[in-house]
Subunit: 255 residues, 2 copies
DNA sequence: ATCACTTTTACGCAGCGTAACCGTTA
DNA sequence: ATAACGGTTACGCTGCGTAAAAGTGA
C-alpha cells in the first residue's frame, strides 16, 4: 500500500495518522481555511495530497512553538518569510509566559516554606503572600508617575526581584511600620527615630537602587496617594501618620 | 464613604476594585458558586462584605498559581487544608508547563540560528526541526517496547536532552545514513564499513547511555518496525537496507 | 448485511470580554 | 429627567473532544 507514487491521495484517517493529528483536527483546520484538502471524492470525502502533508507539518511546528492558528494561517499566506520576524516576536511572548509561570512557582515555594515553619493556619500566611503579588503587578498603574527613563530603569531592576526577595522585603516593611507606629509619640530627632529613619531609607534605596530618577517617580506617586486604585490603598500598609513621622525624622537629621 | 465600620457592604463595582478584578469576574464566580455575595439588595444588587473580600483574595492567589476555578472551589469547601497537598501537585504541573515552553523556545532558537547561517528557504530547515520534536514526543508509543526499568531510565535521560542536542544528534544521524547509503555496495568487512559501524554504535550509545536494559527495548522496537505509527515511519530516515548493512558490518567485526 | 470509515452539525470546556437590553438611584 | 451604575441573558474566543445522525465502500 505504501507505494512511492508522486501523487498519492490519502483519506482523512490515514492522512491524520501520517501527521500525528486527529481527524477532528483536520476538519477544524479545513473550516478555518488553514488547510483545505486539495481534492474531494464524488461522495464528498476529503482527499489529501503529499503537498498537503508538507503544509500540515508546517502548521504542526508553528503550533508547537505556540502560535495561534489564525496567525499561522496568515503567515502561510504571505509566502515570503515573515517567518523570521514572527519567530522573534514569539520568543518574547514565550519568555513572558515563562516568567509568569516562574513567578507562580516561586510564590508556591515561598508559601510552602513559610507554612512549614510557622504554625499559622496556612491560609493567613498564604494570603499574605498576595501582597507581594499585588506589588508585582504594580507596573501597570504606577506607570504614569515615572518618566520614560525611570520606567526603563524600574523595568530593568524588576527582573532582579525574585518573589523570595519580595516576600522578605515585604516582611521588613511590615516590621518597620510596626516599629514606627510604636514610636509615633517619640521625638523625631531622637536616636530611636533616627534609627528607624535609617532603616526606612535603606528599604527605599533597595527599591530605587539609589537612582534619583526612580526616586522622583516614587515621590510623585506617594504625593498622589488619594488617587491610587483602591486595591493598592488596601495593600499599602503605610499610614499617613507614619509617613509624616518619617519625614519629620529625616528633616530632623538634616538640621 | 470609607468608614471603618465592621460590617460594611460593598456593591459590585467598588468591591471589584478593592480586589483588583472586574465586575464580570464577580458575576462569573457567583454563577460558578465560587463566591456568592453574602447579601443582596432589594433590587437584587449583589452586596459583598469584608468576609467576602477575604475569600476573594484567596481565590485570586490560588488563581495566580494556576489552579482552575473548579479546584479552587473544592479546595475552599474542604475547610481543612488540603492546601499543602494541592500546592505540591501544582508545583509539578507548573514545572511541566515550563518545560513545554522551554522546548518551544529552544526549538525557535535552533531554527533561527540554522536559518541565519544557511541560505535555505527558511521553511525547509524549519520543517526539518519537526523531526526533533516528533522524536521528543516518542515517549508515548515507544512505551510498550521498554521494560518498566528501562522506561524509568529513558525518562531520566530524556531530561538531559536539550533540543539543541537533539538537533545535533539528528543531523549526525542524517549524515551517517547518507554515508552508509553511499557505501551500500562495499564489503561490510571493509575498513570503511567498519568506520561507519563505529559511528553507528556511537550514536546508539548516545541514546542508550550504554544501558543494556534500554538497548533491549530499542531492539524490540526496531524489530517491530512494521507496527510503528505511520508518522514515526515517515520520520525514521533509516531504510531497511541500511539497517541490514550495519548488522552485517557489526557481525563482520565479530568474526 | 456488516464493518469500518466518512460526512456535517453541534454542544462542551475555561475564564472571562463584550455588547445588548433594561431596571435603579449608596 | 438624565447620567451612571447594577442586573441578567447570551454570544465570542481557542482548539479541538466527543457524541449524534446518516451516508459510503480505497
Amino acid at each position: 500500500v505504501v507505494k512511492a507514487a508522486q501523487t498519492r491521495l490519502y483519506r482523512a484517517h490515514e492522512f491524520a495518522e501520517l501527521a500525528g493529528v486527529t481527524v477532528r483536527t483536520l476538519h477544524h483546520y479545513d473550516r478555518l481555511g488553514l488547510l483545505k484538502p486539495s481534492h474531494r471524492s464524488e461522495a464528498g470525502y476529503r482527499l489529501y495530497s503529499d503537498r498537503d502533508l508538507v503544509r500540515l507539518e508546517q502548521i504542526v511546528v508553528l503550533k508547537f512553538v505556540g502560535l495561534p492558528l489564525k496567525e499561522i494561517r496568515d503567515l502561510l499566506k504571505r509566502e515570503k518569510s515573515a517567518l523570521t520576524e514572527v519567530l522573534r516576536r514569539q520568543t518574547t511572548v514565550l519568555a513572558e509566559k515563562r516568567k509568569q509561570l516562574e513567578d507562580a512557582m516561586r510564590t508556591i515555594e515561598a508559601a510552602r516554606r513559610a507554612m512549614s515553619v510557622s504554625e499559622e493556619p496556612d491560609w493567613k500566611l498564604f494570603t499574605q503572600i498576595t501582597r507581594g503579588i499585588a506589588m508585582q503587578n504594580q507596573t501597570d498603574w504606577t506607570g504614569k508617575y515615572y518618566s520614560e527613563e525611570a520606567k526603563a530603569k524600574v523595568g530593568a531592576r524588576k527582573d532582579l526581584w525574585s518573589p523570595e526577595m519580595q516576600e522578605r522585603v515585604s516582611r521588613e516593611w511590615d516590621e518597620l511600620v510596626r516599629d514606627i507606629e510604636a514610636a509615633l509619640g517619640d521625638d523625631p530627632a531622637s536616636a530611636k527615630a533616627q534609627a528607624l529613619a535609617a532603616r526606612w531609607k535603606n528599604l527605599v534605596e533597595g527599591f530605587t537602587g539609589g537612582d534619583p530618577e526612580i526616586q522622583k517617580g516614587l515621590n510623585k506617586m506617594y504625593a498622589d496617594m488619594p488617587n491610587w486604585p483602591a486595591e493598592a490603598k488596601r495593600h499599602n500598609p503605610i499610614k499617613p501618620e507614619v509617613q509624616e513621622f518619617m519625614m519629620k525624622a529625616t528633616s530632623a537629621k538634616d538640621r
